[in-house]
């Protein structure tokens, strides 16, 4: 095991896969000389050159469309969209092109494309602080991955690049500098579509992903220490296809469930997850499913106001306390 930051883990997945597969190319805005707006691609153009690490114009729809075409032509493109807020400009290409071609053309070809993008906030104001994984996860034809740890970031990105289908890989800006143990063996995948139970418990299940997984783990510690409540924590890792059996099995053990997300309460990913678990686990539940989510408000700039809205471990603790 080596200790890597989440940022280094993402980078090392790209580097390893580029070394072993010459079809893999990267493209994105300011990903070469600048090193990427979150410095993820730093050093890669030096190793692989500008034909494989392509500096692009500021053209999100064009970038994804181009990457779709490159994939159809035999390459394995990894397109970086600076943040998920800008991915909105590329929604058409993601939803109507990448996600549709395999189905619509009767399985004649697939689109092996990874779109890497970033969620997060930090006084960036309403247009730069949004979280849209629920939108992507609602689209059949896409696979949606949101790693929480460096090991998963690396292993899932390797799996995503090798996957023949389009994968939306959403990183989190507040996780980039977090550290964790990552297996040293090169090319080790973490499979897409598998959740993991990262902490075992008996009283309540906390389901999270990406940054909210860390918040759930923190809440679990607080609840154990202060309330003697034993929390089981599930990391979804992949939002589509979603590993319902792992969640259902956990609810079968704990009979209580809190869904932890960062996106808006209305129409957020947790809403559809809640409805599905309600259908599957109703008889196992001893309490209504609780949700932690962003209030339906654009995220403001002011530090005070922003902090008031960002979902964090305290809301998870409160939700569990309200249940018992």
């Amino acid at each position: 095991m080596a200790e890597l930051t989440y940022r280094e883990a993402v980078r090392s997945a790209m580097r390893e896969e580029m070394r072993s597969d010459s079809r893999v190319i990267l493209m994105g805005e300011s990903i070469t000389g600048y090193g990427g707006s979150y410095a993820v691609t730093k050093g890669l153009v030096e190793e692989f050159g500008p034909k494989r690490v392509m500096e692009t114009p500021i053209a999100e729809a064009g970038i994804v469309g181009f990457a779709v075409g490159a994939a159809m032509g035999g390459l394995r493109p990894v397109a970086e969209l600076m943040t998920v807020n800008f991915a909105l400009l590329a929604l058409d290409q993601i939803v109507n092109s990448a996600a549709k071609f395999h189905y619509m053309f009767g399985g004649q070809w697939s689109v092996p494309l990874v779109v890497r993008t970033v969620s997060g906030f930090g006084q960036l104001g309403p247009t730069h602080s949004q979280t849209f994984e629920g939108w992507f996860a609602s689209v059949p034809g896409l696979k949606v991955v949101m790693p929480a740890t460096p090991a998963d970031a690396k292993g899932l990105l390797l799996a995503a690049i090798r996957d023949p289908d389009p994968v939306i890989f959403i990183e989190h800006s507040l996780l980039y500098s977090t550290k964790g143990e990552v297996p040293e063996q090169e090319g080790l995948e973490v499979p897409i579509g598998r959740a993991s139970v990262v902490r075992e418990g008996t009283d309540v299940t906390l389901v999270g992903y990406s940054r909210m997984l860390l918040q759930a783990l923190h809440a679990a510690e607080v609840l154990e220490r202060e309330d003697g409540v034993s929390c089981e924590v599930v990391d979804l890792r992949t939002l589509r296809p979603l590993d319902y059996p792992t969640v259902v099995a956990s609810v079968g053990r704990t009979h209580r469930l809190v869904l932890c997300g960062e996106d808006w309460r209305t129409g957020g990913f947790g809403a559809s997850l809640l409805s599905e678990i309600h259908d599957r686990s109703f008889d196992d539940l001893d309490a209504p499913i609780a949700r932690v989510a962003m209030r339906d408000i654009p995220l403001p700039y002011s530090r005070k106001l922003e902090q008031q809205l960002i979902p964090a471990s305290q809301q998870i603790v409160d939700a569990v306390r309200r249940m018992s």
Binding site: E17, S20, D21, R23, I25, K51, M54, T56, P57, A59, A61, G62, V64, G65, F66, V68, G69, A70, A71, M72, G73, G74, L75, D92, N96, S97, F101, H102, Y103, M104, F105, G106, G107, Q108, S110, P112, G141, K143, L158, I161, R162, D163, P164, D165, Q185, E186, G187, L188, E189, V190, I192, G193, A195, S196, P241, D243, Y244, P245, T246, A249
Partner: protein, 363 residues
């Protein structure tokens, strides 16, 4: 086929036999004629089937524009790549896709070229390097550029033909695609079918310039305009464009001036244009025009042309019969092909495998 020019037609003499334009052979000319007739008859039958409610959804006919797809696609290699917009029957037939499978796709049958998943607007045949009808206006423009990048990267001497309409040039994605193609010097021919309308919008309503090739200039892309009602004019323009691309000189823009004789789709009452205008353009019908040329140049005879029409009509009747009698897709197959590699978390609850795949990508 060598022909002896008639004394009374000196101009024709200059262009006959070995002197056919653009290095074309007589056989290639006859093939192009047949392809145009195929498209025309295919569209007539599609319209008829639509009227009988055997074809549903949106149906956009290519009638009047046949010379564009046929001339352009004849001018490139069989393995050069083709993408086009939703008015796509012409590209498919010009590329030699199976007529019966195309018709069956319109009928929504399992024997359809996309097994009934795509319909009229989404024909495709990867085995013939025809990568689809694309129904989001302009969306396939950067996709074509990306395919061209793959050709350049993989050092394949292939070019991409990317067809779209005048209306598409108003969309941002058109500009993003052209910008990248020019920036990276990619082997893609952008073919704008300027048929004077984007659905019900006239050129004057949708664009500050009526010549779409002007829009290529800002991207330093060479451009030519050709007569989209003349298959030879289109052939010549695209031949020049493809040579330019193939020799590594970057993208090329071809504007084909053309006209659709029918409405935008079957649902179009055509309130925005007058019948006189349609009549004038119909006089330029590319099929009799090319037929006359072939007869004048003794490449074929009126009888042979009539035979072509009969053969094609028989072929289309058979295609309709085939489509109409083909099975529907199995209901159970409805969720097939959502993914190339379906992952079913429900299938097993066993612990995730940590097996690596260092050899690189699967498939």
């Amino acid at each position: 086929m060598a022909t002896t020019p008639r004394k009374s037609r000196p101009r024709a003499a200059a262009r006959s036999s070995g002197a056919l334009p653009h290095g074309l052979t007589a056989q290639q000319c006859r093939d192009m004629y047949r392809k145009m007739v195929q498209i025309r008859h295919f569209e007539d039958h599609a319209a008829e089937a639509y009227a009988q409610a055997k074809v549903g959804g949106f149906l956009h006919l290519y009638i009047g524009e046949e010379a564009v797809a046929v001339g352009a696609i004849a001018a490139v290699r069989e393995d050069d790549h083709i993408l086009g917009h939703y008015r796509d029957h012409g590209y498919a037939l010009a590329r030699g896709c199976d007529v019966r499978a195309c018709m069956a796709e319109l009928f929504g049958r399992d024997t359809g070229i996309c097994h009934g998943r795509g319909g009229s607007m989404h024909l495709a045949d990867a085995s013939r390097h025809f990568w689809g009808g694309h129904a989001i206006v302009g969306s396939h423009i950067p996709i074509g550029a990306g395919m061209a990048y793959a050709m350049q990267y993989l050092e394949q001497p292939l070019v991409v033909l990317d067809f779209f309409g005048d209306g598409a040039t108003g969309n941002g994605i058109f500009h993003e695609g052209l910008n990248m193609a020019a920036l990276w010097n990619l082997p893609v021919v952008f073919i704008c079918e300027n048929n004077l309308y984007g659905m019900g919008a006239t050129l004057a309503e949708e664009s500050p310039v009526s010549d779409m090739m002007i829009k290529a200039e800002g991207y330093t892309m060479p451009a030519v305009q050709c007569d989209g009602m003349d298959v030879l004019s289109v052939y010549g323009a695209v031949q020049q464009a493809a040579e330019h691309c193939r020799s590594g000189k970057g993208p090329f823009f071809v504007e084909a001036m053309t006209y659709r004789f029918r409405g935008h789709s079957m649902a179009d009452p055509e309130l925005y244009r007058d019948k006189e205008e349609v009549r004038r353009w119909r006089e330029l019908d590319p099929i009799p025009r090319f037929g006359d040329f072939l007869v004048q140049h003794r490449i074929t005879s009126p009888q042979e042309l009539a035979e072509v029409n009969e053969e094609v009509e028989a072929e289309m009747l058979e295609a309709v019969r085939f489509a109409d009698s083909s099975p529907w897709p199995e209901p159970d197959s409805v969720d097939r092909w959502i993914y190339a590699k379906p992952i079913d978390p429900e299938a097993t609850e066993e612990a995730p495998s940590m097996a690596g795949n260092p050899a690189g990508a699967a498939s």
